[in-house]
Symmetry: C2
Subunit: 335 residues, 2 copies
């Protein structure tokens, strides 16, 4: 992979922790499973929820097969500012591919990307973004795309933190994922991000295997090329895993309702609603980006908004994490 091993130190422990756990494992009561969370009522409420649903014989016990936890990715598990990481990938790919596409120098939205003209890029809107996605994410086989994404992750760096993007997982959430799995949960990503893009890093960063990653996708096709089977990525959008799409994807891919859901934007509202509406004890949590010093402060941004979901969280008593107040550290490289 060629990744700097030091850059992965925060995830190393996580990776060593196998996703497949024996059932009915109890959380260790002695060691703190969430050391990067400040010791307050919010943290205690998470520990309380997990202990209750995983304690056999207790009133709130949930059988392991139903202990499903779903996580949004961008802004919930890793940084999404100033651009979604997948958008940064697409922009870099346009620059890498321009020698084979000289016409892009004078065609929008490509020209905007090549000239770092954020205003023109913004003006291109959703239609422009889809054109960029098609140009950079389709036309190759799935194996080729996997390789291209891996190579990008090995070197591309975040503009503010000057770290590999694989370093930008939120350490408290990585701990929470591991804690849930150690308590018999099966952990899923349910994100508007591209399913095959996230699968490249999900095991390494989060301990989540490819088959537990659900995302947006383009159409793909099976064919034989000189007798060799390949999966080809077609230039046609298939499924947008956001808002109402999230419970739909959960039903399709998982087939039962989660008992815990984690998000950070209005795109996660329906997933949290769907999770909340089942019987028994449940945990719905939103991450609120409140820390300008260590990360970013935003609720309304070009990378999504947190308005309707926050209103519903306040009405219904869902958990809202303030990154500034509730997280001792945000990234594994924080002191």
């Amino acid at each position: 992979m060629g990744l700097d091993p030091k850059a992965l130190s925060g995830q190393a422990r996580e990776k060593a922790m196998p996703e497949q756990k024996p059932q009915n494992v109890k959380p260790k009561q002695t060691a703190d499973p969430l050391p990067s969370w400040n010791d307050n009522n919010l943290k205690r409420s998470i520990l309380d929820f997990v202990t209750r649903v995983s304690t056999e014989g207790g009133a709130d016990f949930v059988p392991p097969i139903e202990r499903i936890a779903v996580f949004d990715n961008d802004g919930t598990l890793w940084c999404e500012q100033p651009f979604y990481i997948q958008l940064a990938f697409a922009l870099d790919r346009v620059k890498a591919l321009v020698p084979a596409h000289p016409e892009w120098r004078t065609t929008q939205p490509f020209q905007a990307v090549l000239e770092d003209d954020h205003q023109a890029l913004g003006a291109a809107g959703m239609k422009g973004l889809l054109e960029l996605a098609v140009a950079t994410h389709t036309g190759m086989t799935s194996d080729e795309f996997d390789r291209i994404a891996r190579e990008w992750f090995a070197t591309a760096r975040h503009p503010r933190f000057n770290r590999l993007y694989t370093d930008l997982a939120y350490q408290p959430m990585v701990e929470l994922l591991g804690y849930l799995r150690a308590s018999g949960f099966k952990t899923y990503i349910v994100s508007a991000g591209g399913i095959e893009f996230m699968r490249v890093i999900s095991e390494r960063l989060y301990g989540i295997p490819p088959e537990q990653v659900i995302g947006s996708s383009g159409k793909i096709k099976y064919e034989l090329r000189n007798g060799v089977p390949v999966i080809v990525r077609l230039p046609e959008f298939d499924f947008f895993d956001d808002k109402e799409g999230k419970p739909v994807a959960i039903q399709k891919f998982i087939g039962h309702r989660p008992i815990a859901a984690f998000g950070n934007s209005d795109g996660d509202q329906q997933m949290l609603q769907w999770t909340a509406a089942g019987p028994g004890r449940r945990l719905m949590l939103l991450v609120d980006h409140t820390d300008a010093e260590r990360e970013f402060v935003y609720r309304v941004s070009p990378m999504g908004r947190l308005e309707l979901a926050l209103d519903e969280a306040h009405q219904r008593g869902w958990t809202v994490v303030s990154m500034k107040n509730d997280w001792k550290s945000i990234f594994s490289f924080d002191k």
Copy 2:
């Protein structure tokens, strides 16, 4: 669930075996993990494959995260004659719903179902079957469909064996599923059958949880009904998980290539091709229905054909199981 516990005796052991196993569990060398398979070279080749890929340090070792095995369902894991079990369900549902749809008595293909007129039903073709599927499988919420299917499985019986359909899993394949999982495999169903129909029984019959069942599906929709979130089954087909659709679904749902694939018809050919084309040791297996006495004899039938896949199996040396010669017993109720 109201099911006859005796009818499940063959699956009871399987159900008690959790799907999630610790990694690197070695198959027990002492007990026979496949007692319903005749002791011959075919059985030894399966044991040899599983031992090789799961023995750490061996030349053929495959890390647990890549130990993915995919199984067709109809005709591979359970009986598909004289009708696919889901078709029997649809026919029974037409009869149950006719009081609310008196017009069906004089409208095809419903009239054919109500009059057990198999010739007229055959004449209605694929279009007729889709009409039956829409009439019996859509318009309700996913929770309602789940309940309807569970109730049907609790009482409906196979016309020849006079057994609950949940009794018609192939015992040798149930043993194989358990053996693979005990050897660190993750087992999946990849079937042209309806995804939500199979999920009702997959854990009970095969030890496969809902999230490891992939199948054909109709479009579904998330909505709030009086503030309560529901998933509604729409009268629109979405995805046909057969032939080229199987590797496509494997890529979409699982995201890595299996190392073992099991089928019984031309609908499974591409799934076996895709599995075979990866590096390292692989197992591709077809079940050939050769036992008129204990089950059925067929290769070409209205419920699918085994021709092209069998040719390719012979050319490439894939494993072909003769139910008559290779299986000591077929169902758990066989002596």
